[in-house]
């Protein structure tokens, strides 16, 4: 039994925007029957070049159907520029998260969206110079590179969860490892995507929860996020941290360092006035 959120179940049981738009402005089909999931996305623009209508048809599991439904909800009302900024993580977040093994469904949604926009613009639908790495699921090096970069993946298993690559015969595992190594050796700053405010706040929260709080709790301390103003992160220290002489150092050297590393190099951390 997969652990689906209520939101995923809701979108699976009562999906929004099922169907196919006649004479769409943009359309795309990704995935295949053999691979176990496929998504056909169509959209229409209004006079202001905003997405007026978006519909999907999906063959696949509950999360494939739910992510398709979520995707169409998200992009409605967006300009194409805005829509292109929607990441697979945004789709997963919209649904309150997806099981790791199902993240490839969100990647499929993102791919369909990009392909449909390319289709509208009349751009070529395959990336130039892409080479198939995973023969079983027809995944290219470019697709793997992007998934690794955008989702900060570090293992072959991660890549399989996000792209399916390597989930079949396993012969491409060495090639996938090479791509992971190459991408991860890239300088961070150039790979850092521009974050929206919402994305940034969410990442800060996640980083505190996952990377920072467990260490502080280990020493009997804790931290609460109070506000985010631009790149200024305002926090309040709790527990042992609140009375600790060294809490300034903890904030600067540990909390700020982690946030700079994992969210954005421009972040500074301040303590809320007590």
């Amino acid at each position: 039994m997969w652990e689906y959120t209520d939101k995923v179940k809701e979108h699976f049981l009562n999906p929004h925007n099922v169907g196919e738009i006649e004479n769409p402005d943009g359309e795309a089909e990704v995935g295949s029957l053999a691979c176990g999931d496929a998504l056909k996305l169509t959209f229409k623009l209004d006079e202001n070049k905003k997405i007026k209508e978006a519909k999907f048809k999906t063959f696949g599991c509950a999360s494939a159907i739910a992510t398709s439904s979520a995707l169409t909800d998200i992009i409605k009302g967006m300009t194409l520029e805005e829509a292109l900024k929607v990441s697979n993580q945004d789709i997963a977040n919209y649904l309150g998260g997806l099981p790791q093994e199902k993240m490839h469904c969100s990647v499929m949604g993102k791919q369909a969206l990009e392909k449909a926009i390319e289709n509208y613009k009349g751009a070529p639908s395959t990336e130039p110079g892409a080479k198939i790495i995973c023969e079983c699921f027809g995944v290219t090096d470019k697709e793997i590179e992007r998934a690794v970069r955008e989702n900060n993946l570090s293992t072959i298993e991660d890549v399989t969860n996000y792209t399916k690559a390597g989930g079949g015969c396993g012969r491409c595992h060495d090639a996938i490892q090479q791509i992971i190594d190459t991408v991860r050796s890239e300088p961070k700053s150039s790979a850092q995507p521009q974050l929206t405010n919402i994305q940034k706040i969410r990442m800060i929260e996640e980083t505190i929860e996952r990377e920072i709080r467990p260490s502080l709790k280990h020493d009997g301390g804790d931290i609460d996020l109070i506000d985010v103003v631009g790149n200024r992160v305002i926090v309040a220290t709790r527990g042992a941290c609140a009375v600790c002489q060294a809490s300034d150092i903890t904030l600067k050297h540990f909390v700020e360092q982690r946030l700079k590393e994992l969210v954005s190099p421009d972040i500074t951390v301040e303590e809320a006035s007590k």
Binding site: S32, L33, G36, D37, C61, G138
Partner: protein
């Protein structure tokens, strides 16, 4: 919501009679059967009865039965014993559709210097025994073929296969976890050396299994410890479960006729009606050589996990061989070995019945399935369009 349980190849309900037979052995008769005093000794007495009940169901002698913790342990014990008693032999023959208890074990042994031959099956999941004959070599330590397939219910001709292996002096083991209690087994009349049974597939509890070892077959224990099971399986006996399994075997013998008439009738009805009411559906596996309680049906252009979750909304329990439910990204190894097209494999549903299913339940499922498939097909980009293939092909 009422549960309609059609997933009996996964596990079964413990029979009421079985549970009742077990309860005193948790509380009142908690003695250790190995003890000298009467308090423990009377439990040993009861284990003897259970051993007789198990033996009676499969046409064996009580001293050929050893109790284990599950089917997987029995399978492991059988294969590892065969390898231990003939350390010079390094070849194992099995099939491409075995349960993971055999398949994963063989894959592991392949990394330890053993050579594994996996016999293929045809599109109906049937075995060609000529392939077995050709694969037997002086280096072969054991042949292990399942009796009834857990996913399709297809029955292998294990008795002929055992005779064939014996002719070449090779040991034969069968995983009879799915067939025990469903079809008649009479070991006195065949050449099978070892056979695995799992209690929870025939209305006994989980955590109890049996390994049958033909008298005279050399055996090297898997679990080494005390002198239990005549030193063939160490560990204090799981007395309540052994008593329960004995009772379950007695019931299975009694219900064998019902299983093969009534359960088969309901299973056939379900299959017939679904195929009739749902276009582009088909059965996976040979329907003539099949367990009476199992049907595996594929619904084209839809995906199994989605089907299961919609069935779940009606309280109907079954399983699927689709990629999303197999724990990997590829459909079930059984369906792939049979060459079931991907368009069909992803939408496969296994219904497995038991004697506790009623006609009303089957009618309910027959009524609920067509709209479920229809609903998913209406969302599928492949429905009403020409067939697509994977971009890598």
């Amino acid at each position: 919501m009422k549960t309609v349980y059609l997933d009996n190849n996964a596990t079964t309900q413990v029979a009421k009679e079985v549970l009742e037979s077990m309860l005193p052995y948790f509380s009142e008769y908690y003695g250790n059967p190995s003890s000298m005093h009467t308090f423990g000794g009377q439990v040993a007495q009861k284990i003897r009865v259970a051993r007789e009940q198990v033996a009676a169901l499969i046409g064996a002698s009580p001293d050929e039965i050893i109790f284990t913790s599950c089917g997987t342990e029995s399978d492991n014990a059988a294969i590892r014993s065969a390898l231990a008693i003939r350390p010079d032999k390094k070849h194992i023959i099995t099939s491409r559709v075995e349960h993971p208890a055999i398949r994963a074990l063989c894959a592991h042994l392949a990394t330890q210097g053993y050579r594994i031959t996996e016999l293929p099956v045809d599109k109906n999941g049937l075995l060609d025994l000529e392939n077995l004959d050709k694969s037997l070599t002086p280096d072969t330590a054991i042949v292990s073929l399942m009796w009834g397939n857990n996913e399709t219910g297809v029955i292998f001709p294990v008795e002929e296969a055992a005779a064939m292996a014996h002719e070449k002096g090779v040991l034969f083991h069968t995983d009879a976890v799915q067939s025990t209690g469903k079809i008649p087994i009479y070991l006195k009349n065949n050449a099978i050396d070892m056979l695995s049974i799992s209690g929870h597939k025939l209305h006994a509890p989980k955590g109890i299994g049996v390994l049958y070892i033909r008298k005279g077959t050399k055996f090297s224990p898997f679990l080494i410890g005390g002198h239990q099971e005549r030193e063939r399986r160490g560990g204090t006996e799981n007395t309540p479960s052994i008593v329960g399994l004995g009772k379950a075997c007695e019931l299975a013998a009694k219900n064998m006729d019902k299983e093969n008439k009534e359960v088969k009738r309901l299973c056939d009805k379900l299959e017939r009606e679904l195929l009739k009411r749902i276009p582009q559906s088909r059965v996976n596996g040979d329907t003539a050589n099949r367990l009476p309680n199992t049907t595996n049906i594929s619904f084209e252009f839809v995906e199994g996990e989605a089907i299961l979750l919609l069935m779940n909304e009606h309280g109907i329990c079954a399983s699927s061989g689709s990629a999303c439910t197999s724990g990997s990204l590829q459909p079930s190894h059984v369906l792939r070995a049979m060459g079931v097209p991907f368009t069909m494999a992803h939408g496969s549903i296994r219904f497995s019945l038991s004697i506790y299913n009623t006609e009303a339940e089957i009618d309910f499922v027959i009524e609920k399935m067509p709209p479920i498939i229809e609903r998913l097909r209406s969302m599928s980009p492949y429905w009403n369009t020409s067939q697509q293939t994977c971009k890598s092909q």
